[in-house]
Amino acid sequence: MSEKDNRPILEVSHLGIDFGGLTAVDDFNISLAKTEIAGLIGPNGAGKTTIFNLLTKVYQPSRGKIVLDDKDTNGMNTIQVNRAGIARTFQNIRLFDKLTVEDNVKIGLHNHTEYNMWSGIFRLPKYWNEEKRSHEKALELLSIFDMQDLADATAGSLPYGAQRRLEIVRALATEPKVLLLDEPAAGMNPSETAELMENIRKIRDKFQIAVLLIEHDMNLVMGICEGIAVLNFGKIIAKGTPSQIQNNPQVIEAYLGKKKEAK
């Protein structure tokens, strides 16, 4: 393999943000290999979603550096970060509820569809060609989750699990290099979760992208993540392989152990 393939696609160093007096994230470091599946875990309020919001510039970091594919994302906004290659899903699902499933995916394809307003209004050949292409592409992407039959349904009317899957498809449609999944299995039953696990792996293999996921379902995290970072009170308390994390006393104390008690 060439040297480039070993270089990380995403490199985050000393990332942090303060909300007023509260330091929600501090000194966060992570490095993702080009086709790595990594996990971000930690108790509620640890700052996991905040890290996604920092990576996608929903919040501007107070400090630290985010380098994507050798490009510093400093000064970019959410839109530019997406175009640079980071796509995400949301913990509290954010679909375009009134649009159809297919149109939701087509919004993901927006920047890879090339015709302007006038071609659309006057239905020029470019409109027909590009719409046909994006229609086919959208169905192809939906077929990853076997959702092509739902193409004409309204996104807001889908069951919870399907909405989560649609968010992943929409994110994939933007052709990312790094895919961020915020609790993709939340609200899914065990068989749905198992299927999702397979599909995340399939997506990584097919699209050759890196996946960083936040998840409370330890079966999923331990099952597919190659590397895991554990967050507590905005700080990384452990990093390692699934077996290292499972046996780390600090992690058991802060997160894993607590979970067993709750059960």
Partner: protein
């Protein structure tokens, strides 16, 4: 046969409704069955239908609120009148002058829309409503003290009074301050108005069902998700707003060139709200609904003349009924099916 998409079918039904409306009233007109007051309402009806479509693009499709669309209408109205009157001797074919007036009215209204949109659409919240409200009032007051005249040397402008236009004798005053535009040659026709309705429908429907329209709706549904998909929020908010302003300007020119005089006061806050009422009653984002609401509620006061004192009471009752019907899914279904049937029949007859 290729499957016709739902949106394409709905678009064609809308064209069909407009054409049936046109044929019906055209036949009534030519057989002399239409009362004077009602035939005088035909162009205003088309104007308000266009206004409702324009505002629905902002309120329903783009999810922003404009409380000053009458302001864009007045920009189009007065610039349209100036163009049509100034070119009276240069271009004698009145339809061409009408087209020019409408196009220039639309362009100037689009410029006004751009000036408002660039700073305001960057902000999130109800700022657009506040600023368009102010715009409507400001433009009305500016027009109230605007004087424009034309003589052989060209156009003369003044913000003081008619005398300071410094025109040579024989020049005509086109816009005379609070008295508005005077001596307008009525060159708008019902057919032209219908064509404009169809063009506007064509533009909005095709926009909505294309890449840009999808983006506009997505931003309305979820701004943060739209950003995370890499959509340029500002661009699409501007697109919807400026296009809507341009259409309102075109409607204004059409409207003004149907009267011999037009005063700035005609395009005040009440008119903006009236158009908003059409949009809300017809269903926010529902183009067909807002067209029907605009048409019915524009003629209604005329038709209710016979009720004399009870006029406003009946008007209010009809308002409530329209609201109930357009917001009840069962009633909507029924209307849709009836519409589809009518359309099918007319298609069969044509074919």
């Amino acid at each position: 046969m290729k499957k016709i998409s739902k949106s394409a079918r709905s678009s064609f039904i809308n064209y069909g409704i407009v054409l049936i409306f046109f044929l019906f009233f055209q036949i009534m007109l030519s057989t002399g069955k239409l009362s004077n007051s009602l035939s005088g309402q035909l162009i205003p009806i088309c104007t308000y239908v266009i206004m409702a479509l324009a505002l629905n693009l902002v309120v329903g499709i783009s999810g922003e609120l404009s409380l000053g669309h009458a302001g864009f209408m007045s920009v189009g109205a007065f610039s349209g009148v100036v163009v049509a009157t100034a070119l009276k001797d240069v271009i004698t074919v009145s339809p061409i002058r009408l087209i020019l007036a409408i196009v220039i009215g639309a362009v100037l209204a689009a410029v006004a829309g751009t000036i408002i949109g660039i700073p305001v659409l960057r902000l999130q919240g109800d700022y657009l409503a506040i600023v368009t409200l102010a715009f409507g009032e400001i433009i009305k007051n500016v027009l109230n003290c605007l004087y424009i005249g034309a003589d052989s040397k060209g156009l003369h402008f003044s913000m003081k009074d008619g005398n300071s236009l410094n025109m040579e004798t024989g020049g005509t005053v086109i816009i005379n301050g609070p008295q508005g535009a005077l001596g307008i040659q009525k060159i708008s026709t019902f057919a032209a108005a219908i064509i404009l309705v169809l063009i506007v429908l064509f533009i909005i429907q095709n926009l909505v069902n294309s890449r840009a329209g999808r983006a506009i709706k997505a931003i309305r549904d979820n701004r943060i998700a739209a950003e995370s998909c890499g959509l340029n929020i500002m661009k699409y908010k501007m697109m919807a707003f400026v296009l809507s302003a341009a259409i309102a300007g075109a409607a204004g020119a059409l409207y003004a060139l149907n009267y011999s005089t037009v005063v700035p006061k005609k395009f005040d806050f009440n008119t903006s709200i009236l158009v908003l009422v059409f949009v809300v009653l017809g269903g926010i984002g529902n183009l067909r609904g807002s067209m029907i609401a605009a048409a019915i509620l524009t003629v209604l006061p005329e038709l209710l003349r016979q009720f004399q004192d009870y006029r406003m009471l009946v008007y209010a009752i009809v308002l409530i009924l329209v609201m109930i019907i357009t917001n009840n899914s069962k009633a909507k279904d029924l209307l849709g099916r009836v519409g589809a049937k009518i359309f099918k029949k007319s298609a069969v007859q044509k074919g």
